[in-house]
Symmetry: C2
Subunit: 351 residues, 2 copies
């Protein structure tokens, strides 16, 4: 291993190449469970941090240093690129994103503006440049929300349990749906391309809420946009990670989109995913995040189950099945990283 | 067809026998979407209705008459049998069940009382007797919560998104978990047996929240109790329906429990379930309930997709993938029943 993020064990695992140790990082590894982050949040809102390059760097890098994980993930919020599209929103404590004027008509969709990242999201790109410089050999993962998940916030006006408006528009107003999804997909491509140009070594699409869709609805109303996105991003030659929650019924369709790595939640054992899909994809996951709140034996038991199946397979990145819970003890998380890094990986056969 | 609930098209479909029309009923077919139910709820709480045999009958039967569905479902709440076990709770508007003292210790578990339905839940049994008399040839489905779903309310103290306490006890306190699950499973068997003795022609176990568990956790901590329950209920010789939400990853395990009918949510197409499991189980489902809020074309499109796959297979009962949303127009639901009943079922081959 040289001191180059592109030959790091995380990136090698994404490409299903042999690794010396199992790479590990955590969704929401920078966040409320950290005393340092909570302290910063007493001064700045989440969006203020996400708009300041020096704070993006600080928060992103601190998580890596504290945990000794194998990848950094850009500190930001999936809503950030919607603002330059002309979508006003707040992020409300204990609620989440609240969109000022939900978008439900073709007129509103047609007024959405294309995003020019170097002009509109320069603070993110500068945050990435600073972070990459500070990280040295540790790779940075850029990210965007997936178009369905972003559309759901934009159409509902906030978090939803039923996705009533989103699904109604999907089923009943094909021009509103396709107009919105096309614009969001174009934004995702432009935004992630700019993130890679600024130094990100991989990108992850968080399509967290796709699990609410039936498989036929996903195949018809979401998969084509994801396929277009990944086809366009392929030229960047960085790993493309695709993650959603509750996707057991969608995995074959998600695999077809062109992602390099599939992020899987805790519900489906990764050996079942391998059996279902074959070896073409790297897999990332999938410890039940609740185990972090249940004491070290529960953490270790869950991690051991995963590593027994996946620890000696190429193309495996350890992560949680969803984000780090805010009640997590940072010591537990650090202990888990050390434990993963001590797992003996069999040397790759000589070729 | 004679005028006997046991030869009704619903019961025949549960046993995978040929039917003249596709049977249909809806989870929460008696509920807030009905003007008559809302009017009654201005006088009585949910639990008051569930404690009065004459109101149980009225609410249960009115839904069947209004909708012309092929089965009635006992009007009650999954929390009702917990009260005689010694578990105090309220049902709070817009929250759900709130348990006064969450149960998390072996001492609390050991103080739980066994339920004697004819003494403790006589009002339910009398409600069933009255309802069955009023229904005539329409079969009544009795029901209970599943032990995991009940345990989650009892341990968390109310609804949960993470099931943190439930999972912690499951992983860390095997005696508390097994003690609680054994007592709940014993209650479920006794309660459903009494419901059948009082006249129910089938029973459904609502294990709504099992989808939060990983497949290994389900297999280890829930499946054995469900298998015991269904093994004991088998002697009743009525169809045993098993339902949960978000169970795509659990279906093979759920199928092994001994259920006659699997209730599937809207996420997984039933033809995929058939392909996965084979023909041994009747399937019940699985229209996305949100379609009921999206206008008739969305309802019809979704129902057509299901019937094209399942309409001419033995062992299919039309239902939603979860309960009727409270914003549903009753006219839409009635229209759906009529539409299902007009679907041409091919005559069974002569034998």
């Amino acid at each position: 291993m040289t001191s180059n993020p592109l030959t790091s064990r995380f990136i090698r695992a994404c490409w299903r190449q042999p690794v010396d140790r199992i790479p590990v990082w955590f969704m929401r590894q920078a966040g409320r469970y950290q005393p340092s982050y909570r302290a910063l949040r007493r001064q700045y809102s989440l969006l203020e941090i996400a708009h300041r390059p020096e704070l993006i760097q600080q928060v992103t890098v601190t998580a890596v240093e504290d945990l000794q994980v194998d990848a950094a993930i850009l500190f930001s919020d999936i809503m950030v690129p919607l603002e330059p599209m002309g979508i006003g929103f707040d992020i409300q404590e204990a609620v989440g994103p609240v969109v000022h004027e939900p978008i439900r008509t073709i007129g509103q969709v047609e007024r959405l503006k294309p995003v020019n990242p170097s002009r509109d999201l320069d603070f993110v790109l500068e945050g990435i440049e600073r972070t990459v410089a500070a990280l040295g050999q540790v790779p940075l993962i850029g990210f965007s929300g997936g178009p369905f998940t972003l559309a759901s916030y934009v159409i509902e006006g906030g978090p939803s349990r039923t996705y009533q408006w989103t699904k109604s528009i999907m089923w009943n107003a094909p021009n509103v749906w396709s107009g919105l999804m096309e614009r969001l997909a174009a934004m995702v491509v432009t935004y992630l391309t700019a993130q890679v140009a600024a130094g990100a070594s991989a990108v992850q699409v968080f399509d967290s809420w796709i699990g609410a869709l039936s498989r036929p609805d996903y195949e018809r109303f979401v998969e084509p946009y994801m396929t277009t996105i990944f086809a366009q991003l392929k030229a960047l030659q960085v790993p493309l990670i695709y993650f959603g929650v509750g996707t057991a019924h969608l995995l074959p369709a998600m695999a077809r989109t062109g992602a390099t790595v599939l992020g899987v939640d805790w519900r489906t054992p990764l050996r079942h995913v391998r059996r279902l899909l074959g070896d073409e994809w790297a897999l990332q996951g999938n410890l039940d995040p609740v185990r972090l709140l249940a004491g070290w034996p529960a953490v270790k038991d869950g991690a051991e189950d995963i590593l027994r199946d996946m620890g000696n397979q190429p193309g495996f990145i350890f992560n949680l099945g969803h984000g780090v819970p805010k009640e997590t003890d940072p010591v537990t998380l650090r202990q888990l990283v050390d434990w993963i890094h001590h797992w003996p990986v069999e040397p790759a056969p000589m070729k």
